[in-house]
Amino acid sequence: MKNRGQGVEESRSLVSGLNPGILESSNPAVQARGLTRVYRRGAETIHALKGIGLDVKCGEFVGVVGHSGAGKTTLLNLIGLMDRPTEGSLQVLGTDVARRGVRLDALRRKNIGFVFQEFYLMPALTATENVLLPTMWGKGNGENMRDKEIKGQRDRVGESGHLIPRSLDPSIPRERAKRLLDLVGLGHRMTHKPSELSGGEMQRVAVARALINRPRLLLADEPTGNLDTAIRDGIFNLLQALSRDSGLTVIVATHDLSLESRFTRVIRLEDGNVV
């Protein structure tokens, strides 16, 4: 049986992987100044975010709370590099994303994991295969080369000088997927398809999928919106543990005000403003 110390070590190596310097980084993970996002829908202009400022430090477990329409999803989309701000500056993991010419998709692929209210698992694939999906992306662009290089490798020597058997090597995607599923408590469900999983289990698979590329930032948009209270708490405990044990920066958007106490810090949004 693992003790807590071993569990923390495993979580760190699995989630943050071989990215050194993440845990001890003192740079803010997210820094926004005068962040504005305006949408135009026909003649209507929607001010989703009205020049907000915020800082999120590396390793924080931050909640973005507010009622529906407050701007939570817009903020997460901007932080998650799926959208660009209309005005203001936004630094994500040290990159000014408002700057023209920045390749958001590559940055997102390497550094950001997403968990959504809907799980969006591929119904025909097993839990392990679903977790592996993001490792498919970007290979044609020369990314994830580390995985290609170690393909076919049997064992390797770890940084500590010890031999790491292939079956335990978290740098091999399939092994990492299995261990991530183990980490989220689904070690016994690896070959199950989404239709054979409960809502909570599907969301856990989605969390494992978000972590497969060893992101530096995990964003979750209403991750428990479709789950009942007991399962909701389980998912929150998992996200909390990931942040605490691996040093991963986790930002969760939720309209459920009862969850505020679970975060290390809360950013409250109301009508596009931080209050």
Binding site: R108, F116, M122, A124, W137, N213
Partner: protein, 386 residues
């Protein structure tokens, strides 16, 4: 592997639609395979049949050259004859090495089976060096030599007696030909005088087969034969091949149009299906992008699904073509004036590869626009779309 699996799984998520799309392509490819193979088989068999004639030049009575060609190759009844005296004139031509005069008749055996009778003499045998007779050559006017299939159909063997249907003439089976795999297998060979007599065609011929003394001077031989006698049609075999081929060429345009339409329809069907699937999966595609999928990744995935659909359709099409080859062949045979005997649509690896290659190209073309649309999906808008 997971790419292929994902593409395949995405296809079978919508079983009915995917099956119908694959079927659409399969029908187009089946038509392509069948018609292409038919044309290939036609040319090859026709050349085989002409080769089996054992002649470089044929002489037939004046009349429709296509009918004459059919009679020459498959035998039959033709109400035009040449005078037997022409044979001597032909033989006298210095360019002629061998010449065999043939008279033909066709009768119906019980069960409405058409029996082709060929009246020949020793000269004919000189054009058939490969013949192996189980029995002997004509020793009497009442002897008959049966092709292997004809003997089988009549239920006779060497030494038996056979009554010529409709004529009620009893003949002795002097020999049966070993299988030649040519039209000769289906013929019944009689001494020419005997057939002329029982058919009431004394002194008549329907065909003279000529072997040229110098093959490279066949054209000169034909010219000199044409000049010496006006009451006959003289064809070099190459011209006969060209004549029949040109007849086929007229159907080739029609056939090509059918293939083109079938392939275009198949392609449009695929494009429509994949495009619909892309619209339905907008949110899913948005999620892929949110998870790190680039435009190229999404493009590749949708393109791979389309190509998988069309290649599966291509393989299924070839299978359908092979299974339904008899039916298709019967239909096409009914549409053209002359077709060689034997099966014309068979398995051909080059044609299979051509069909699979074409279905691959079809997938590349039909999948491009849907893949482009999918790749252009913006994740934020896709996730908002419900």
């Amino acid at each position: 592997m997971i790419w292929f699996k994902l593409s395949f799984k995405n296809l079978i998520r919508r079983k009915t639609r995917s099956t119908l799309t694959v079927l659409g392509v399969a029908i187009a490819i089946a038509v392509l395979y069948s018609l292409f193979q038919f044309q290939q088989g036609y040319q090859a068999r026709l050349k085989g049949e002409l080769g089996a004639l054992g002649a470089h030049v044929i002489v037939v009575p004046k009349g429709c050259p296509y009918e004459a060609a059919t009679i020459a190759l498959h035998g039959g009844k033709w109400p035009r004859y040449m005078d037997e005296s022409l044979l001597a004139k032909v033989k006298a031509n210095p360019g002629v090495a061998e010449a065999a005069g043939v008279i033909m008749d066709a009768v119906f055996a019980p069960g409405d089976k058409n029996v082709i009778l060929l009246g020949i003499d020793e000269d004919y045998m000189k054009l058939r060096p490969a013949w192996r007779i189980s029995g002997h050559w004509f020793a009497a006017d009442s002897d008959v030599i049966m092709g292997s299939t004809a003997a089988q159909d009549a239920g006779v063997k060497t030494g038996d007696y056979w009554v010529v249907p409709e004529k009620n003439v009893r003949l002795h089976v002097a020999g049966v030909l070993s299988r030649t795999n040519t039209q000769d297998d289906g013929f019944v060979f009689l001494p020419r005088k005997t057939l002329q007599k029982i058919s009431g065609l004394e002194g008549k011929l329907v065909l003279i087969l000529i072997k040229a003394r110098h093959v490279d001077q066949t054209d000169a031989l034909v010219a000199s034969l044409k000049a010496s006698e006006v009451d006959m049609n003289v064809f070099p075999l190459s011209e006969l091949l060209g004549t029949i081929s040109s007849l086929m060429a007229s159907t080739k345009v029609f056939v090509s149009a059918i293939i083109l339409i079938a392939v275009i329809l198949g392609g449009v069907g695929v494009l429509n299906t994949v495009l619909m699937a892309v619209f339905e999966r907008t949110r899913e595609i948005g999620m892929m992008k949110a998870m790190g999928g680039s435009r190229g990744d999404v493009f590749k995935l949708v393109w791979a699904e389309t190509i998988l659909t069309t290649v599966l359709g291509g393989l299924a099409g070839v299978a359908i073509a092979l299974v339904s080859s008899r039916l298709v062949e019967a239909i096409i045979r009914g549409m053209i004036p002359y077709a060689p005997r034997g099966s014309l649509i068979g398995f051909s690896l080059p044609t299979l590869l051509m069909c699979v290659g074409l279905s691959l190209v079809l997938g590349l073309v039909a999948g491009f626009y849907p893949a482009f649309r999918a790749a252009s999906v913006k994740p934020v808008e896709a996730i908002k779309a419900e």
